[in-house]
Symmetry: C2
Subunit: 258 residues, 2 copies
Amino acid sequence: MHEFDEDTMVTAVDPGVYAGTMSDRWSIGPVPNGGYVLAVGMAALRQALPKPDPVSITAHYLRPSRPGPVSVHVETVKVGRRYATAMARMAQQGRETVRALATYGTLGAGDGPSHIAGGPPPLPPRSALAPVRHDAGMTFGRRFELLSTTLDFEPGRATGPAEVSGWIRFADGRRPDVHALGLIADAFPPACFHVVAPGWVPTLELTVHIRARPSSAWLRCVFRTRFLFAGLLEEDGEIWDEDGTLVALSRQLAAVPR
Amino acid sequence: MHEFDEDTMVTAVDPGVYAGTMSDRWSIGPVPNGGYVLAVGMAALRQALPKPDPVSITAHYLRPSRPGPVSVHVETVKVGRRYATAMARMAQQGRETVRALATYGTLGAGDGPSHIAGGPPPLPPRSALAPVRHDAGMTFGRRFELLSTTLDFEPGRATGPAEVSGWIRFADGRRPDVHALGLIADAFPPACFHVVAPGWVPTLELTVHIRARPSSAWLRCVFRTRFLFAGLLEEDGEIWDEDGTLVALSRQLAAVPR
C-alpha cells in the first residue's frame, strides 16, 4: 500500500462517522500539512457519497492538526442526479480542527463546448532539473519528488513575482488521482516566500476545483500570490497533467507570515 | 431604507435561526440571483457572529431559490480571538437551497508587508460610457447601474477572451459595504457568454474573499473564464474600489449552458 493511501485511511465507526489517524509523515515542523489534513477528510467524504469524483471542496482551518487520532463526521446535505453535497467536521481530542463543504460528481460526464485560455506552466524538462532538497524538520517533503527552478527563495531581496512552479510526483510512485489533488494543491512551498521572509503561513480557507482525472504520475503546477496586504494573501494554483489537461484549480486565503 | 437592505433583512426567530423573504426584485427570469441569495445568508451570519467583516465565504447551491419566505439556520463553529467561523443552511418550503461556510474577522486590522501584483481593470471613464440596458425579464438588472463596453455578446462568433468588465453601483445610490460584495461578485452577465451561446449558467459553488472595505459608491470589476470544458467552467472575479484598492476576489464553479 502506498504512503498516501495508508495515511489517509479512515474506517466507518457509525453512520456518517469515520475514524482515522493523522500521520506524522506529512508535517511541516510539528503540524500536519493542510492539504494532507484535507485529504483525510476527503477519504471520509469519498466513502460517504455516492458520486466518484470531488468537484469542489472548501475547507476552513480552525486550529492546527496534530499527529494522532482524528474523527470525521460527514453530513450528507443533498444527493441529486448529477451531484452530491456534504459537509465534514474533523475533530481531534474533542476539538474541531477543520470544517469542510464539498460537492462530488462524475468528471468527464459533461459534453459540449470547450474554451481553454491558458496552458501548463512553461517548465524545463525534468531531465534538466535537480530534485529540490528538503528541510530536515519537514517530513512532508520526503513524500514527494519536486523538480523546480523557482524555490530558491531570497527573502527581502526578491521583488516578485510571488510565483512558484514545478513538477511533482509522489516519492513512492503512487499515481495521483482526484482524491490526492487537494493535497497537491497545498504541496509547494508558499509563493509568498519570494516577497516576504519565510515563516508560518496559516491557511484560513482552501478551495479546490477538481476538473479532470489526472492521466500521469508527474503533475505540473504553478502557484501565485498577487495580493498580499493587510495581513492576508491569496494563493492561486493550477495543476496540470502530462497530457496538458488542467486537472485542478485551487485558491487559498492565508495569513501573511509575521 | 435602500433596496438591498430591505430585501436582505432577516429577523432572529430562535437562537441561530433567522427568517426573511426572498424578494422578486433580484431575479434572472423567475430565479433570484445567486449573489442575492448569498447576501440574504450573509445578513444572518452577520447577526450571528461577533466579528464585523466577512473574510471568506463559500456557498454551495443545491437548488434554485424562489421569491418568498426563507429561513437561515446558523451554526457557529468557532469564535476565536481574530476570526469567527460559521455554517449557514438556507431553506425554503422545507427544502435546503444553499449550504454556506464563512469566516468573519476584522478587515484592515492586519499590518505588515504588502505586495500587489495587479491593478484595477483598465476601463474608460464613466462619462464615456452609456448605461447597459436591461433585459425586460430580469428584475435584477434594475437594481444596478452598470457601465461597460464588454457586454455586447456575439455568441458563436466571438473567440474570446471570455471576459467582462465594467463599473457598477447600486441604482438607488446605496454605498456598497462588505456585506454587499458577495452580491456584486455575481452581478455581471457571465463572461462565458463571449464564447458559448447565452443560457442558464447554474452556479454550483461560489467563494468570495473580501479583502477590504470599499471606499466608493462605484466599483470596478472584471470577471474571466479561462477553463470551460467537460460541462463546467470557473469564473474569477476582481472587485476594486475607486481608490484603487482590491476589495474582493471571487471564484465560482458553474455548469456550461447547454
